[in-house]
């Protein structure tokens, strides 16, 4: 009898406990607090060649922060394939990190969810003011006219990386400055049996960064001035076709690259199997894959004609990483302090050197570490010929819809099918129909 009673009591207790946890699982949608002032959770994006490399770079800096403030930072490096999903889940549940890195192109989308702390004058004052940051970098921190959703952390730009030996063997004296030159050089390189140019045909974000620049060079935009998608504009169609034609018509990009999505083209370049690579701030990555710095040259991304600059001479998107504070943080003061630490001149120099990126903090840019010729190209591109991707709430959806369209066009080209203007328009029309109506 006693045993039965014990069982009954146990069952009831367990049930009550379950019911209680079920009720308690709801999200708290408060605006952040200082409940746990001694710890912080930080989600870092994967900047180095691997997650392990990032941990090695970041951990000493986090230890330094702990020494200075007594706040312990729990680091998690989140791979790119998961980062946006993780942020979405955290926003939905209210349970997330205190501080996190975001791709700067997501700023406006994530800003619209209301999950990130807005950086108004008062918050900026806590980290030394808005003026410390370069204007181009601040242009990718959220929708215009709103308080930024994040603070620039690393700035990057696309450049043309080329293998010096392959160029010399093919008798090419200088890197191509226009697309026509690139196509002509590609023919010479291909004639010698080497793959000319790498691409990540199945990587949606890479596709977007490239077609965005091509659209700019064709004098077009994917969104109208009031933020509506306009993917079927004839100039946009021509721009997307120009990029896909690098594989379909010019055969500069080998067909196999159509299924690349895990940075295989970077490995191909690092191993000397491919002459050129259009990539953002890739020096540290190439080094970790065993390519010596003397083996490759770095030049601005080609334009249609003339020299890189503003307007139709844009040759890179403003790439980079922003650091944001999660609104539901339990350590608001600590999180702000951490952002201040990460954007301090000292840390900016250390981290941007480690990741071969450019500091968005202007006072750190003048450091001699960023004056090397390779970095100079990136710095110059950012300063004079880079444009911010559309800062609209539906930017993430745009990346997916148009990125998929380009992926499918590459797949067609790889299968040997002709890619006509009508094909491109049809794919882009489908992409536009998938965009949210608002």
């Amino acid at each position: 009898m006693r045993r039965i009673r014990a069982a009954a009591v146990g069952a009831v207790t367990l049930s009550l406990a379950l019911a209680a946890t079920a009720c308690g699982g709801g999200s708290s949608t408060g605006g952040g607090s200082n409940d746990s002032p001694k710890t912080l959770t930080y989600w870092a994006s994967n900047q180095g060649a691997s997650v392990a490399v990032d941990k090695k770079v970041l951990q000493p800096e986090l230890d330094k922060f702990e020494q200075q403030t007594g706040i312990k930072v729990k680091l998690e490096v989140v791979p790119w394939s998961d980062l946006l999903n993780r942020i979405l889940t955290a926003t939905t549940s209210g349970q997330g990190p205190d501080v996190l890195n975001i791709g700067n192109t997501w700023s406006a989308s994530l800003q619209a969810t209301g999950g990130l702390l807005p950086w108004d004058e008062r918050n900026f004052a806590k980290i030394g003011g808005k003026d410390r940051f370069a204007a181009t970098a601040l242009g990718s921190t959220g929708a215009p006219g709103k308080d930024p959703a994040a603070v620039p952390l690393y700035s990057m730009a696309y450049a043309l990386y080329y293998n010096k030996r392959i160029f010399a063997d093919a008798g090419i004296a200088k890197p191509p400055a226009t697309w026509d030159e690139l196509v002509a050089d590609a023919k010479k390189i291909k004639a010698r049996g080497t793959s000319p140019l790498g691409a990540e045909g199945a990587n949606l974000s890479e596709n977007i960064h490239h077609v965005f620049v091509f659209a700019k060079q064709h004098g077009a935009d994917f969104f109208t001035a009031d933020g509506k998608p306009d993917f079927t504009d004839p100039k946009v169609v021509a721009a997307v076709k120009r990029y896909v034609d690098l594989m379909a018509k010019d055969k500069a990009i080998p067909a196999g690259d159509a299924e690349y999505a895990q940075n295989q083209s970077v490995s191909d370049f690092a191993k000397g199997r491919q002459a050129m690579l259009l990539w953002q701030s890739v020096a540290a990555n190439l080094k970790s894959q065993g390519m010596s710095e003397d083996a490759y040259g770095i030049a601005p991304v080609p334009v249609i004609s003339g020299k890189p600059g503003g307007g139709t001479q844009v040759n890179s998107a403003v790439m980079g990483i922003n650091i944001a504070v999660f609104k539901n943080t339990h350590n608001l003061d600590g999180a702000t302090k951490f952002v201040k630490f990460m954007t301090s001149d000292t840390e900016q120099k250390i981290l941007n050197t480690a990741y071969s990126s450019i500091p968005p903090v202007t006072s750190a840019q003048s450091d001699p570490a960023f004056a090397a010729p390779a970095t100079a190209v990136l710095k110059n591109t950012l300063a004079t010929s880079a444009a911010a991707l559309p800062q609209v709430p539906s930017e993430s959806q745009f990346e997916t819809a148009v990125g998929t369209a380009v992926k499918e066009l590459f797949a067609d080209a790889a299968a040997g099918r002709a890619v006509t203007t009508d094909d491109v328009r049809a794919k882009l029309e489908k992409a536009q129909q998938q965009m949210p109506a608002a």
Partner: protein, 328 residues
Amino acid sequence: MTTTALKEPARETSPGAAREPRRRTGRIRRLTLPYLLLLPALLLELLVHLVPMAIGIVMSFKQLTQFYIRDWGTAPWSGLDNYRVSVDFDAPVGKALLQSFGTTVGFTLLSVGLCWLVGTAAAVFMQDTFRGRGLLRALFLVPYALPVYAAVITWVFMFQHDNGLVNHVLHDQLHLTDKPSFWLIGDNSFYALLTVSVWKGWPFAFLIVTAGLQNIPRELYEAAALDGAGMWQRIRRITLPSLRPVNQVLVLVLFLWTFNDFNTPYVLFGKAAPEAADLISVHIYQSSFVTWNFGTGSAMSVLLLLFLLVVTGGYLLLTSRGRRAADA
């Protein structure tokens, strides 16, 4: 339980009315105890299965986009709009959903059919004892025992265009194709997906059918052999009819698993599956997570749930009626 229940009324007439209330509480206690013990399991079931489903159904009536995910309560109700968008087959969203649904149905039928066929054949061949049978059986179960991600990522490497094993064998060694084929993009992706799905699914069929075969009495086979039945006839007249109840469950389970499979296409193709292999689970994932419209995604999931309920119900009804007719 029944015996006590029967005895109890008889005892009530017996003297000792003072002890009556206590005895009644004792009876109540004995009657309620099983339910009490079931309660934790029931609540867990509610928590793990039914509550998320109910929330999903509620979400499908809301306009849950990126502007509202932080605080679901504020998302405006949208009535049947999400459903209307999903089943409007003239508009792009509905058309894509219908196409994905068709692909999924075709894929599921082929995959379940092949899994069952290969699994059953293997189980029948393994029925007689021979040297190395245990080893082979264990080997057959490896795909089923491997973690899905590890197994599928290996297939991704094998299906690669430039240095994949599949192209190496088909093109470089056997010269079956004039140039290396793409398996992970374009139209061939359907066959790649089917291959991996069958490779991953058939060991389960093999396992279940092997278990079912243990229950068929050896005498039946011996009697049939005496009557001069060949191997094929024994399979057709004894093995398959005896396996009927096992197969009924097996096919249903395989169907539900394959139809809902998310891991395989997701690991093979990433978030944007090629049109030829755009299975409905990934499609719904794309419609909700990637485009941040959880309302429409939920509506599609509810529609999928309804479809699977109808199919399962219809299947069970048909097969059990068929069995009753056969038994009669």
